[in-house]
Symmetry: C2
Subunit: 256 residues, 2 copies
DNA sequence: CGGCAAGTTGAGCCAGGTCAACTCCGGTGG
DNA sequence: CCACCGGAGTTGACCTGGCTCAACTTGCCG
């Protein structure tokens, strides 16, 4: 009798989307990996205990958003990284101090993988190897890209950058879509891009008042002027001046 | 006749330090990898052309400091990441926009590896695989850690953090050493931690005036009070208040 | 030993943080 | 179904840390 793909995997989106890790695996590999793994449903605020991470330091994100949070002595909190569907979070041999806390920012589904079986599968299966290798490099450059945003950009630019980050994540397939959903709360967003929630709110308003975006709901925005938003995100300060120059048309007329 | 390790590799520190990639390889693997690779000496400001990176997207750092720089439309420059001895920079399949420019911050030696041979060796040699996997994860978490510094810390805290980052890099062996050398210019340091060079200078002075560090030369500092510096780096604001409380001793006596 | 880039110092200003008051929304129980 | 409640988000007023600009000093390299 042929070996059957485990039911749990058959229902998991990581198995269906061909560019994800589990989709590369054979039924026998899935059975082995599945036997030693634990999937879990998380709700907002759920975090992984140190013991859990010691035993299952490899976490595959099936849906939802996870975050890596650092808390400073005086209570300032930072969201250092976001993880979404398809990310494989490998926390092996990362010292506790550097690691931070892995916390769900909303309802999420994850699969905690046994490191030894995971390792075995990766070594044996070149396609799977390729996928997680690409994913890890993607995570690295996402973090580096994020550092760029944080280092020198100002508030409006950071927010614009973040909107594109969201857009890239969800609608990688539909490049022309101008509807973007923000998958996290304002509070978390602020902590991720290193600003105050008040400032985030003000910046959304400013983009809206300039006619560049429209706030459909708290979690859904429509980009009305993609190139302008792109220029802001890239730190082209002339955008803001252009708007200033375009608006006073009436005044110029009044001089005539 | 036994296969000889290539002379170039015999002279390379990556081959001698047992925790580095090349040290895991057999002579035959080294010969193969070496044949298709190009080593290079760099001086400050040297950068890799896009064509060079297309052909050799994998760069091993033998000595010196490389940086990944992003330049915004209006000229603001950010150093998004630093790479030092032992780092393997893998830029394969990273889009140009995200990648930034790879630029040396001082004299440096690198080895540009053929991606195909590199891939082959990695797949065949589990020890080598382990080393570069660990290195890539290390890079990821270094970038995440750096994001934490940039997001919410203030100037003094970022500088303190950076000093520990330097200390960690060089003297990983000697934990009690209080002498730290800063391997990059003030200007580059400022761009890395997202501040102005003027502010960097002022923060160095402030740490010095508090007796926490001493500036030996521009590139060498001595930490006089490691715990205090650590607390500042971790964002414990009570440190600064403590100093304020300790200093006015004389005033208290004058009240007696 | 001159020339230039890097680093430092000072003065003034502004983007964004802080604090407080308010509104909005989703969940809960009567 | 509605009243209530608490947390999230928003708005306004104020304030300050760090950016900016300019002048100066230092250190490096020919």
């Amino acid at each position: 009798m042929a070996i059957e793909t485990p039911l749990r995997c058959k229902q998991c989106s990581l198995y269906f989307e061909s560019d994800n890790f589990c989709a590369q695996l054979s039924p026998i590999e899935l059975v082995n990996l599945n036997r030693e793994s634990r999937s879990a449903k998380l709700k907002r605020g759920d975090s992984f205990s140190d013991e859990s991470l010691a035993q299952w330091p490899v976490v595959a994100v099936e849906s939802g958003v996870l975050s890596l949070q650092h808390i400073m002595q005086d209570g300032r909190k930072t969201i250092a990284a976001l993880f979404m569907r398809g990310d494989i979070i490998d926390l092996r041999s990362i010292s506790d101090r550097k690691r931070g806390n892995l916390i769900a920012l909303g309802k999420a589904r994850v699969c905690r993988l046994s490191p030894s079986i995971f390792e075995k599968v990766v070594k044996a299966n070149p396609d799977a190897h390729q996928v997680i290798w690409d994913n890890l490099r993607e995570q690295t450059f996402r973090a580096i890209e994020h550092s760029v945003d944080l280092a020198k950009k100002q508030a409006l630019e950071k927010l614009a950058s973040f909107i594109f980050e969201c857009r890239h994540h969800e609608g990688a397939n539909d490049k022309s879509s101008s509807i973007v959903s923000i998958p996290i709360r304002r509070l978390d967003l602020a902590e991720y891009i290193g600003m105050q929630p008040e400032t985030v709110s003000r910046c959304f308003r400013e983009l809206e008042s300039k006619g560049i975006i429209e706030l459909e709901t708290l979690t859904t925005i429509v980009i009305k002027n993609i190139p302008a938003l792109r220029r802001i995100a890239n730190g082209d300060r002339s955008v803001e001046e252009n708007v200033k120059l375009e608006n006073p048309d009436m005044k110029i007329i009044s001089f005539a």
